[in-house]
C-alpha cells in the first residue's frame, strides 16, 4: 500500500472511530444490567423438567457464557442459548432428570460491564430457598416447637395411660378404669391431627415458606420426604390402634393390641430428630425410643394417679401407689441415665452444658428431671408408709406432689420441644471435621470459615470474624459469594446471620459439585466501611 493510500485509510478509520465514540458516549439509559426475573426462580423446586429457562434482565444484554450444570457438575448437553431483547433463553434439548441444577450466567450490558451470577433450581426434589430473613424461619420454628410440645403431651399421655392401665388396671375400681380409658381415648384422638400438621409444618420450615405456607402443596410434598413424616406415620398408626383398643383393658388380647399401639407410638420417637439419627443410629434410635417410652410411663402414671387419687381413701390408695412407686423409681433412674447419655452424644463435651442454646436448655431439662426424681423419692420414702397407716393428710400431700410433678413434666416437654429446634453442639464439632479456611486481610482482620461437611451437596457454613486486635468483629450485614471458577460457576450470593458477636451462620448452602471453591466474605462493618475476605476451600 502506498503511503498516500495508507494516510487516506487511516483518516477514514479515525473519522469513523470519532463518530462511533460520539454515538457511543454514555447515554442516560445505558445502565448496569441486573437480573430482574428468572424462570424457574432461584431456589425453586419444579415438579417436572422445564422446557426452557429464561433469564430476564433490566436491559438488553449480550451473553458471554451461559452454562447449565447438573448436580455432578457436568454441563447439560443439548442446550441452545438465545438472547432476545432483554431475555436470555436456554432451550433444553430433552428432559432433565431429578436433581439439583445450576444456571451460571455471564453477560455484558450496554456499558460493557460484565454481570455474572448463578441461580439454583431442582427438579423433583427440594432445594432450600436462599435464607433472606432469619425472622421468617424463626416464626416457623416456634410453631413447629409448639406443635411438638402438644404432640409430646398428648401422644405420650395416650401411651403412658395404656401402660399405667396395664400395670394397675386389675387393682382399680371399674369406675376409675372407665375414667382412665376415656382420658386415653381423648388423648389419642387429639394427637392424631397433630401428627398430620407436623408434616406440613416441617415442609414449610424447610422451604422457609411465607405465612400461608401450610396452604401450599409444596410444603406438604417436601415435608413428606423427611424422617419426621415417617415418624409421624408410625405414631399415627400407633395412636389409632390405641384409640380403637381404648376400652379393652380387661381382655388379654385387648392388652396385647394396646401394647402394639404403645410400641408404635413410642417407637416413632426413635425415627427422627437430632438425637435418634446421629451415628450409630442403630443404637441411638432405640435408645431415644426407650427414653420416650419411660417418659410416657411416667407421664401417663402421673395423669392416672391424679385421676385415681381424687376419689380414694388412704388405705385403698396405698396399693396403687406402691405398685406405681416400685416401677417408677427404677424407670426414672433409667430414664435419667438414658437422657444423660443421649445428651452427651449431642454435646460432645461437658463444657457445652453451660453454653447458651442447646447446652443450657439440656441442662435445664436435666435439672428438672432431677427434681422429679427427688419428689418421687420423697413420695416413696416418706409418704408411702404414712399412706399405708391410713394418714389422710399424707394423701392430701400426695395429691399435691402429683400435681407438682405433672407441672414439672410439662416443662420438661417444653424443653424437649425447644431442643428439637436448636442446633446441637455436635454439629458445630462436626464443623471441625469439615473444611475450614482462614485468611487474614490487609488491615489485620481475620476470617475463619468452616464448611460442614465439606462435600458436594448440602452444607452448613460457620463464619468467625475478628479484627486486628483479636476482638470479634461485629458487622451490620455479612454477605457471602461462593464461586467455582474452574467449572465456570459464577458467584452464588447468600446472607449470613449472627449467632454470637463475631460469629455468623448459614444453615444451608447447596454446593453443586466438588472442586476448589472461591469464598468471598463481605462484612459491612459500618455504613462506610466494608471489609472483604477472600478464601479458598477444597470441597470433596
Amino acid at each position: 500500500m502506498s503511503p498516500l493510500r495508507a494516510g487516506v485509510v487511516l483518516r477514514h478509520v479515525c473519522r469513523s472511530l470519532l463518530v462511533l465514540a460520539l454515538v457511543g458516549m454514555p447515554r442516560e439509559v445505558a445502565a448496569h444490567a441486573v437480573l430482574v426475573e428468572s424462570a424457574p426462580a432461584d431456589g425453586a423446586t419444579l415438579a417436572t423438567s422445564p422446557g426452557e429457562i429464561r433469564l430476564t434482565f433490566n436491559e438488553p444484554v449480550a451473553p458471554i457464557a451461559i452454562r447449565l450444570l447438573d448436580g455432578a457438575g457436568t454441563p447439560v448437553a443439548g442446550i441452545a442459548v438465545e438472547a432476545i431483547d432483554r431475555t436470555v433463553m436456554l432451550r433444553l434439548g430433552g428432559e432433565l432428570p431429578t436433581g439439583t441444577y445450576v444456571v451460571s450466567y455471564r453477560v455484558t450490558s450496554q456499558d460493557s460491564h460484565a454481570v455474572a451470577g448463578s441461580i439454583l433450581f431442582a427438579v423433583g426434589t427440594a432445594v432450600v430457598r436462599p435464607q433472606q430473613a432469619a425472622a421468617a424461619a424463626d416464626g416457623w420454628r416456634i410453631v413447629v416447637a409448639m406443635n411438638r410440645f402438644l404432640w409430646l403431651g398428648l401422644s405420650l399421655a395416650a401411651a403412658g395411660l395404656a401402660l399405667f392401665l396395664m400395670l394397675c388396671g386389675t387393682i382399680l375400681e371399674p369406675g376409675q378404669v372407665r375414667r382412665l380409658e376415656r382420658l386415653l381415648l381423648f388423648a389419642a384422638v387429639s394427637a392424631l391431627p397433630l401428627a398430620l400438621l407436623a408434616v406440613g409444618l416441617a415442609g414449610g420450615l424447610l422451604l422457609d415458606a411465607g405465612a400461608a405456607g401450610l396452604l401450599d402443596a409444596d410444603s406438604w410434598r417436601v415435608g413428606s420426604t423427611t424422617t419426621l413424616a415417617r415418624s409421624m406415620a408410625v405414631g399415627f398408626v400407633g395412636l389409632a390402634i390405641s384409640a380403637l383398643s381404648a376400652r379393652l383393658t380387661s381382655s388379654r388380647a385387648g392388652s396385647a393390641v394396646r401394647g402394639i399401639g404403645v410400641l408404635l407410638v413410642v417407637g416413632s420417637f426413635g425415627l427422627t430428630g437430632h438425637a435418634a439419627t446421629v451415628e450409630p443410629a442403630i443404637a441411638m434410635g432405640p435408645a431415644v425410643a426407650l427414653h420416650a417410652g419411660l417418659g410416657a410411663f411416667w407421664w401417663g402414671s402421673l395423669l392416672g394417679l391424679g385421676v385415681v387419687l381424687r376419689g380414694l381413701a388412704p388405705i385403698t390408695a396405698a396399693p396403687v401407689v406402691r405398685r406405681f412407686s416400685r416401677a417408677a423409681v427404677a424407670a426414672v433412674a433409667v430414664l435419667l441415665a438414658l437422657g444423660i447419655a443421649i445428651g452427651l452424644v449431642q454435646l460432645r463435651r461437658l463444657s457445652a452444658l453451660v453454653e447458651p442454646g442447646y447446652g443450657l436448655v439440656l441442662c435445664g431439662k436435666l435439672l428438672l428431671a432431677g427434681g422429679l426424681l427427688g419428689i418421687a423419692s420423697y413420695n416413696k420414702l416418706r409418704l408411702m408408709p404414712r399412706l399405708a397407716g391410713g394418714d389422710a393428710a399424707a394423701l392430701q400431700t400426695l395429691r399435691r406432689t402429683v400435681r407438682a410433678e405433672q407441672a414439672l413434666v410439662l416443662v420438661v416437654f417444653a424443653a424437649t420441644a425447644a431442643l428439637g429446634q436448636l442446633p446441637p453442639p455436635r454439629t458445630e464439632a462436626a464443623a471441625s471435621e469439615a473444611v475450614t479456611a482462614e485468611t487474614v486481610s490487609s488491615n489485620g482482620g481475620k476470617a475463619t470459615v468452616a464448611i460442614s461437611p465439606g462435600r458436594a451437596g448440602r452444607n452448613e457454613i460457620f463464619l468467625q470474624l475478628t479484627d486486628a486486635t483479636g476482638q470479634p468483629l461485629a458487622a451490620q450485614e455479612i454477605g457471602l459469594a461462593v464461586s467455582l471458577p474452574s467449572a465456570g460457576i459464577e458467584p452464588i450470593r447468600r446472607r449470613l446471620h449472627e449467632v454470637a458477636p463475631g460469629r455468623y451462620h448459614l444453615p444451608e448452602l447447596i454446593l453443586p459439585m466438588s472442586g476448589r471453591w472461591n469464598v468471598r466474605v463481605e462484612a459491612l462493618v459500618s455504613d462506610f466501611d466494608k471489609r472483604n475476605f477472600t478464601l479458598e476451600a477444597d470441597i470433596r
Binding site: L17, A21, P26, A30, A31, H32, D111, H113, S441, F528
Partner: protein, 174 residues
C-alpha cells in the same frame, strides 16, 4: 498528518472507554494538586438496579479540611461534624472539629437522569497519595455502597463497588 489522526484515534478510544465506568459513582476530576482547594463533583449516573436515588451520603476522609457542600434545590443538606483527634491552625483560628459526613436527602433522582453532587475542601499536602471518598447511595428500593477501598497492589477496576478515588499530584511551583 498521521500524528493528528493517531491523536484523534486515541481520543476516540479514550472517549469510548470512559463510558464503561458510567455505572459507578465517580469523581469528575480524579487528579488534583496536593494542598489545593478542590471542588469534588460526585457524578451519579444511575440509581440502584433501576430504582431512583433518594439519598447520597459521602464520608470526608481525615486530612481533607474545611469541607463545604453545595446545596441542591429539592434536596435537604445536612452535615455530620466530628471532633478532630488533633486540632490544627487555620489562618489564625484553631480548628477543633470538622465536617466528616455530608448527606443530601429527600430528593428523587430517577435512574434515567444524571446529577452531580458537589462539595469542596482543602486537600492534604501529600503528593502521590490516593484518597478515597466512600459514598453510600440510597434509593427507593435498595442501597449501593461505593465504599470498597482498593488494597495495596490493586486498583479500583478490581472491585465491584469501589469508592470514588482522587490521586494527588505534586504542588505546582509558585
Amino acid at each position: 498528518m498521521i500524528r493528528l489522526s493517531l491523536a484523534a484515534t486515541a481520543a476516540a478510544a479514550f472517549a469510548l472507554l470512559a463510558g464503561i465506568a458510567s455505572a459507578h459513582v465517580t469523581l469528575e476530576a480524579s487528579k488534583a494538586p496536593a494542598d489545593s482547594t478542590y471542588k469534588a463533583v460526585l457524578r451519579v449516573g444511575h440509581g440502584c438496579d433501576g430504582a431512583a436515588t433518594t439519598k447520597i451520603r459521602v464520608q470526608v476522609p481525615l486530612g481533607v479540611r474545611q469541607a463545604k457542600p453545595m446545596p441542591k434545590p429539592g434536596w435537604e443538606l445536612t452535615t455530620v461534624v466530628e471532633k478532630l483527634p488533633e486540632p490544627y491552625d487555620w489562618y489564625g483560628t484553631m480548628i477543633t472539629e470538622e465536617v466528616r459526613e455530608i448527606e443530601w436527602s429527600g430528593g428523587k433522582l430517577p435512574d434515567a437522569f444524571y446529577d452531580e453532587f458537589v462539595f469542596r475542601g482543602r486537600l492534604p499536602d501529600e503528593s502521590g497519595a490516593v484518597i478515597s471518598f466512600p459514598v453510600v447511595q440510597e434509593c427507593e428500593t435498595g442501597v449501593h455502597r461505593w465504599i470498597e477501598i482498593p488494597e495495596a497492589g490493586k486498583s479500583a477496576d478490581d472491585y465491584e463497588e469501589p469508592a470514588p478515588q482522587l490521586t494527588l499530584t505534586p504542588k505546582p511551583a509558585d
